[in-house]
């Protein structure tokens, strides 16, 4: 295995709500190698975005990272001061967001928004920055970069905006790209284009990508490894083939089961009953226990650990049932 590009260790992020701190991300650890696409999946509110924002240092003011390390090329980002973080953001780690239309400043021409970061992180003249902007736009498959540079975001379609966002993220050639649901707001045909583009970039620049999504289809197509989150915790981690072929955690099983598969011809779907618990009223034991059809007493009482379940250590799972019997549920 190559050395790790990003390593998140025991990350714990909390929010202040009504004067009490609630934990949105708890004891999350994972790593990404250069050129790897790691999928982070889970239902809405499970802490995917908070994890990524923790890495970027862009958390809201009512939050704190109370534990853990975030190592980027071995450097702990949590120890960086504001200025240091600003140098890293955009230059070493870049991020693209779910809503491409809202993520671009509506009052600023694309050119300005693009060159802003380029000028900030490089010693470029305006001319050079413009050329660079032109180049990156071209590289993300925008047919008429000149026109686009002069446009305002609202004059572009969602797909175009997302390309611009990607161009912006790639403009300083970061080593790590965090994509927080980059295609959720887009149509399938456009999604296909964008996913293709990201794969291309990864292949060409050997960029590590953290791909956050709740679409298992996207994960299956893009990622090499997957981390499944539930209620702020990682419940399972596995190489993508293993995960889909043989999900271990009951939640992962439920998740995969409840997605309708094109061409499968099924008339009805198995589903997970109930819904994700609220952060402030978390169940005591295993967070999934109330929805789990296999839950036993211990599940309701004690939270299981995330443990390796295969020799190579590539698979991890957080479930009592597995721990006890040593085999799958």
């Amino acid at each position: 295995m190559a050395e790790k590009l990003l390593e998140v260790k025991n990350l714990r992020t909390e929010f202040k709500r009504d004067k009490t701190w609630v934990t949105a991300v708890n004891n999350v650890s994972f790593s990404i190698q250069p050129g790897e696409i790691l999928g982070l999946v889970g239902e809405s509110g499970c802490g995917k975005s908070v994890t990524s924002l923790s890495v970027m240092g862009l958390l809201a003011r009512n939050s704190k990272i109370s534990n853990g390390e975030i190592l980027l090329n071995g450097k702990d980002l949590l120890k960086e001061d504001k200025k240091g973080m600003r140098k890293i953001r955009g230059r070493e780690v870049a991020m693209i967001f779910q809503e491409p239309m809202n993520s671009l400043n509506p009052c600023m021409r694309i050119e300005k928004q693009l060159t802003e970061a380029i000028l900030l992180h490089n010693n470029f003249s305006k001319e050079e920055a413009h050329n660079r902007a032109f180049e990156v736009l071209k590289s993300v498959g925008i047919p008429e970069p000149d026109m686009t540079l002069k446009s305002y975001p609202h004059q572009l379609s969602g797909g175009m905006c997302q390309r611009v966002m990607i161009a912006m993220a790639m403009s300083c050639e970061p080593e790590l790209l965090i994509a927080d649901e980059p295609t959720t707001a887009l149509d399938v045909t456009i999604q296909a284009q964008i996913l293709e583009l990201m794969e291309e970039i990864r292949a060409k620049k050997n960029t590590g990508i953290l791909m956050i999504t709740h679409d298992l289809g996207v994960v299956a197509e893009m990622c090499s490894r997957v981390v499944v989150m539930y209620a702020g915790r990682i419940v399972e981690e596995a190489p993508v083939h293993d995960l889909f072929a043989d999900p271990k955690h009951p939640y992962t099983q439920g998740l995969i089961g409840s997605v309708p598969k094109l061409g499968s011809g099924v008339e009805s779907l198995p589903s997970i009953p109930g819904s994700v618990p609220d952060l402030s009223v978390m169940p005591k034991g295993c967070k999934f226990a109330p929805r789990c059809k296999y839950a036993t007493d211990i599940c309701h009482l004690q939270e299981p650990e995330l443990v390796s379940i295969n020799e190579a250590g590539t698979r991890k799972c957080r479930c009592h049932l597995l721990n006890k019997s040593g085999k799958e549920a």
């Binding site: 198995p270 009953p273 819904s275 109330p290 059809k293």
Partner: protein
């Protein structure tokens, strides 16, 4: 391990624990209580309203009784906020004046609000020509500086409390119409209004059951702020000589009369000024607090 529950694919959520059922009002109160400034403001306003009700029965002096032996005395043990040019007790007058000032401001704002809300709702809901008509009328009213509008109203119908009230109400209308209109338009676009139409609700039902409650928030918030404006407007009118100025005390006229004694008896301006300031402040802070409490984004 065996499945415990494999029978039904429709899995009923009935058993699921929801957070404790809470009436919206209780929740609102709970949230509101967290805003200290707003709570203090509310307490102050309640105190002022209380004074308006019981003031005349509890104040130390008859606010109307002149005492020519004690004219324009500074604050003392006998007269804690001093006396005015007739030797009347400033404190008593201010407390009793609460009634007139507050009634005036509140009534004016209520009338203005009621009219403005109805106009705003109609304009926003029906749109088109009705909207244009109402909004152009409001523009005409807007185009006249409000104090001048008030002067004109007072000039037409004469001077006195009621007329000041009408005057202030008149210039409350257009701003409310505008605010409620835009609130109506935004609520009108809410999917649940479309749902209501699809369910077959009549226009009236949609307007009053579905849209109107959605505008109440901006109504309440603006109401509290406008009350402050109304208090100030009434005192400004006094200053220009168009006030409620009758023998009964009210804050505005006390303040504007007091200005003539700024040098010799500053307390005559200071205390009404501070009281007006605090009351307007309280209403504005209350408005702010309400807005923040009612704004889902702020939580």
């Amino acid at each position: 391990m065996a499945d415990k529950n494999t029978t039904s694919t429709i899995n009923l959520a009935a058993a699921e624990e929801l957070p404790k059922a809470q009436s919206k009002f209780k929740e609102f109160v709970k949230k509101f209580m967290k805003r200290k400034t707003a709570v203090i403001s509310l307490a102050f306003i309640v105190f002022i309203i209380l004074m308006a009700i019981i003031g005349p029965y509890v104040v130390p002096y008859d606010p109307q009784a002149p005492d020519y032996t004690a004219m324009m005395q500074g604050p003392s043990a006998a007269h804690i906020w001093g006396t005015n040019e007739y030797g009347q007790d400033v404190f008593s007058r201010l407390m009793v004046g609460t009634r007139l000032s507050l009634t005036c401001a509140l009534t004016a704002t209520i009338i203005g609000t009621a009219l403005g809300v109805v106009l705003g709702l109609i304009a926003g809901f029906y749109g088109g020509i009705i909207d244009s008509l109402i909004m152009r009328c409001c523009d005409v009213l807007f185009a006249f500086p409000d104090i001048l509008l008030a002067i004109a109203v007072v000039a037409i119908i004469g001077q006195g409390m009621v007329n000041v009230m009408i005057a202030v109400a008149v210039f409350t209308v257009p701003s409310f119409a505008r605010i409620i209109r835009s609130a109506t338009i935004s609520v009108k676009q809410a999917p649940y209004v479309e749902v209501a139409r699809s369910l077959g609700c009549s226009n009236m039902r949609i307007l009053f059951v579905h849209i109107f409650p959605g505008t109440i928030q901006s109504m309440i918030v603006n109401f509290t702020m406008r009350v402050g404006t109304a208090i100030l407007a009434a005192s400004s009118l006094s200053f220009l000589g168009f006030g409620a100025n009758v023998t009964e005390p009210d804050w505005g006229s006390m303040l504007s009369t007091g200005r003539n004694y700024l040098n010799t008896a500053p307390h005559m301006v200071l205390f009404p000024g501070i009281l007006i300031f605090l009351t307007v402040l309280a209403f504005n802070l209350l408005g702010d607090g309400l807005r923040d409490t009612l704004d889902p984004k702020m939580n």
